[in-house]
Subunit: 364 residues, 4 copies
């Protein structure tokens, strides 16, 4: 399979480079009849836009989305939804330097070796602008989930060494870092100021939860919901780790603690008393809250001198020019949310035929 | 996509339940001309067999593999390799109890809801025996990798709270827990004895490394090598977390530390001076060692009484009968190795056409 | 994608060679709760068995199917259904001759070039025995279709130059050639006797119809129902042509004739007055009878001397030994039926999410 | 799988409707380093443009392609090539009539039933403009094939009842109907004049050949080259039949005639003496010319009154307004060529790993 498509029935195909004509996505397989507007997409894109605060790059990008197909009279028609964001404000800067060497922590070297040459302008296809297609596609998925009573929400759980100690969903929208803990957000900003002073950058942890999921999403063995979430999240550029539920903490736990007991609720529903599993059992959604986390590495572009090699095979010292985000976690929050939404939307559509009774519901 | 296939060109399809007639796998897309015997497969299967020591269930399973197709005169023919392990020694025990309630930490409840009923005998398709197909398929992949000078090796990095402090690859084969640190292995065994005394179980961390990889495996965006590894590993039953390279530690690191500097080796090769990235840059293999980790949860079957509900919707207390592994980490080591090998084999075959020059090498 | 899987949600993976240990199929994605027995499968396999009359090879093959997984208490569980037919009665004959040259009309030459060597015993993977997996898988699909009121029926429309002039569905079961016209069947048998006397073989045309289909199967553009049927049918070994509805006759027709007019039935249903389209409009099922045809070439193995080359690159004359079918059309009838059923079953499952309303029906 | 993608490694995803903002395609998986310009694409698109002669609709469409991504310094980068043709000259006509009923021979009824409503303007997604994406994608595939010495050429073999009797490849470019026989082209034009006078339309047969193919494209069983070609061709809107080699004529042939004998050429190559098979044996390319045919139905839009039903469920008589092609065969010639090229390009890339030796060629 070529690498720019994701999903089975609900599937996106993204395209575009940092300094080409634009970036975009084709969303195929979305059910017909879903109300959808450019504004629905734009509000997601706005959350990943740079220049929103001093911790993101002051490059001004409009990132205005245009829907080119698949909508008629305000609703999806069941045919591909093509969306594009034209690259308007890229500076026609001199990239001759960056073209000549491999930036540490970037994909320059691997692209060069894999493809024989590379579009070095702003990182080309490996630029963070690639995530625009993910977010636009994820916004459509989120709209579909919403119609089914499912809500997905991501936030910054940690910025560098600063961890959130409380989770206040309202707070997420009140600070520039999308942290659900005001105190942590304050401490994180101070930490970031220090990173910037050091010409360095920071990483963090993004947590994402989904509420309202039915039991039964995901398939046994290779198409577990957790496996597809892992792939989705680890396909995001800077992600180096993935957890679901208690994650790595399970390694030192015991079953007597880690197993989630079942009980009957007052309205006769099966419910888990705890949620160490994070919403999946045997890789299939169990009706409780889905909880996952992604580890985001520090932005590799820093103004500190670094050792590297150039295209002529010589050892050199480089200083990556330009103004770069000292942290990408806040802008990546909506990307994690988008990828999670895409996996859930596809699992919902793929899971409709699990029983003969369900097949009969639709076809008879 | 149905859930029991994995991979694109090099693809496996597994089948079978714990107490059905057998379990098996069809390996499709393996290049022709690879020398392969049942013994090649059996030595991998033997590493996941139960009953090898007191920390794995004393159930005696032969797990003798039979190759049914795809081999002629000792070599693969390019057509599907079908392999089966017949279930020989399953006790015809009474499963009426297990049939009537949902075991905490197992897939009983989600299977029941997804499919309307379930094969409750020994967990059916969600049993650990499902991994036999993965391991048999992974053994074929490993044989292919070996021909290309690639070696994959997994081991237990931690058992419960006991972490390895040294990595001695020879030591892995000397202790029952497949730990690369003799002292840690000793401490881990003591910890497991205590778990058993408590009628409890333990989890752990499995680490897997691959050496000899060329630069260029994996594709940008959704088919990153790291993304496919994440899916492969998180599709294994008890896995709750995945890391590549420094994993979650990157969250509190800085780019000045986390970026791996490049330099030229004495024989004019580009090389990284460190390997925080774990062998991938931009999701594409960078020629250095691949390093990943999986978090394994404690075996959910324990003899301690647990709260749950039965099929009639009543709260009950259950005690899971039978003799179960107090830990599955040692047996899962080879499963992690198998899944890693499968991803690498597929990435090698998928990556052959990245440039026009490579296409010409084969077709002209 | 490796070549031995077919279908998306309802997917089969076949394996096995003519003279290996057996042939088989894994059916993945079948909805849970479908009553299914080995007898359901066996009755389909019996229709492709050789030795049923003098026009098929007198080799005695038992072809007894065994279900190895995926069934519990007589119903499908939603997990893979693995089926095997062990090769019992293959004569351990001398294949050294066939190994040394390329039989005209067979895949010997292309297999040799593609894979570097080949399993020459009885054609290996390119043998007609490969269709056992298709038929066993198709039998499961047919059972599913039956539950939804859909019936698929194939028959021999022409044997060599002898065409059926009437279609009497009862008659199909009354003659050895599965022709729906008794008179044509009689003429065809005389024609085949003559072919055999000439040490030659014959081809024919198989027609397949499906009744009871809902409107809406298949997707616009590349996943048209007609496109997937074309692939399914043309993937059968000896097929050289495919038609739907009026097929090639449309080329010399006019729209005023070829367009099917709509009208309202007495019970207020939209109905077509004619069916030149063969049941699809825009590649999507239109609720009328599906009609397709496959052109089958004459069995290439004949006792007449033929010019060919051997592995040493010398021109030689060969006479293919053994007893071979003078025609495969009658045995291929059930294979066409199976492939059609597989496409329809998959289209039904894939088509469940075409509208938001349908998604709500299952998930809310 | 959603329906708007085609191919495995070399894969296109198309989007767009007749009267939306535009139509386009994303080509993923094209090897890096292929020289490619907008002009390469445009010359293919020009061949399907309307208004080139009196037998195609006089609507003026610019159909100017714009490449939005995937090209750097004149060569493909290995990342997705996004191409768009904006819809510039669509008349803002009144579609209220067409919205209210189902045109016979069109997809109006099946779209309405499948999706609950439809974009009725100009046929929406089921319009012939959908083929722009196929042709643009196919042009990229054709450029790749050219680099490997493979040439694909389609032409009109028959227009209505008028068949070509000679095949003169030069002649194709000399008449408006893309027929390789000047005399037939003359007769066909007279036939079409008569159709137009009758307010009727005509169909025809398109033949496509490919020269320079290596042996070994396509896989056994379901991914036969012939099966994928059948799907590709039958996915084109008006196609009702597909043949490879002798096609339906094999049904009344005998093996002694139909089998292609092998011999050694003067420069020691294996060669077939005839080519009844049309270039595939066992579904795998055999090194001889690939020959396939597509049956194209008469354009369904005609000015003759037709019986149909409206959205209110009433029987009505309709006359489809607007100026429509009396035949689409000439414009579909390049579409058949494009789809054939796409299948061949994908088969080339998928077939690179058939042997261990080939894998070694690239990776060692």
């Amino acid at each position: 399979m070529a690498g720019s498509s994701f999903g089975n029935i609900f599937r996106i195909t993204t395209w575009g480079e940092s300094h080409g004509k634009g970036v975009g996505v084709v969303v195929d397989g979305c059910p017909a009849g879903l109300p959808l507007s450019e504004e629905d997409i734009q509000q997601y894109l706005n959350r990943r836009k740079p220049g929103q605060n001093r911790f993101s790059t002051p490059r001004k990008e409009d990132d205005a989305v245009e829907i080119l197909s698949g909508i008629f009279e305000g609703r999806t028609t069941g045919t591909p939804i093509s969306m594009v964001v034209f690259n308007k404000t890229q500076r026609s800067q001199d990239y001759s330097e960056i073209a000549s060497y491999f930036r540490p922590g970037h994909a320059d070297y691997t692209f060069q070796e894999k493809y024989g040459f590379r579009d070095y302008r702003g990182g080309g296809r490996s630029s963070g602008r690639e995530t625009i297609g993910r977010v636009a596609g994820g916004a459509v998925a989120a709209r579909l989930l919403e119609e089914l009573g499912i809500h997905v929400q991501a936030y910054a759980k940690a910025i560098g060494p600063v961890q959130c100690e409380t989770i206040d969903m309202e707070e997420i929208w009140k600070n520039a870092l999308y942290m659900p803990d005001a105190k942590a957000a304050q401490a994180a900003q101070e930490y970031l100021n220090q990173c910037m002073a050091n010409k360095d950058s920071a990483g963090g942890i993004i947590e994402c939860v989904a509420d309202g999921l039915p039991v039964g999403l995901g398939d046994p063995v290779f198409e577990k919901l957790s496996a597809n979430l892992a792939k989705a999240i680890c396909s995001i550029g800077a992600v180096k780790g993935f957890e679901i539920g208690d994650g790595f903490a399970v390694a030192s736990s015991n079953a007597s603690t880690n197993n989630d007991a079942f009980h009957m609720t007052s309205n006769d529903q099966v419910e888990k008393l705890t949620n160490h599993a994070g919403g999946v059992l045997g890789g299939i959604s169990d009706g409780s809250r889905l909880i996952l986390r992604a580890a985001i590495k520090p932005t590799p572009s820093i103004a500190t001198p670094q050792q590297t090699v150039n295209l002529s095979g010589e050892d050199i010292t480089c200083v990556v020019k330009g103004r770069h985000d000292p942290i990408i976690v806040p802008r990546a929050v909506v990307v994690v949310e988008a990828m999670t939404s895409l996996v859930l939307a596809d699992a919902l559509l793929m899971g409709m035929s699990s029983t003969l009774d369900r097949v009969r519901k639709v076809w008879k």
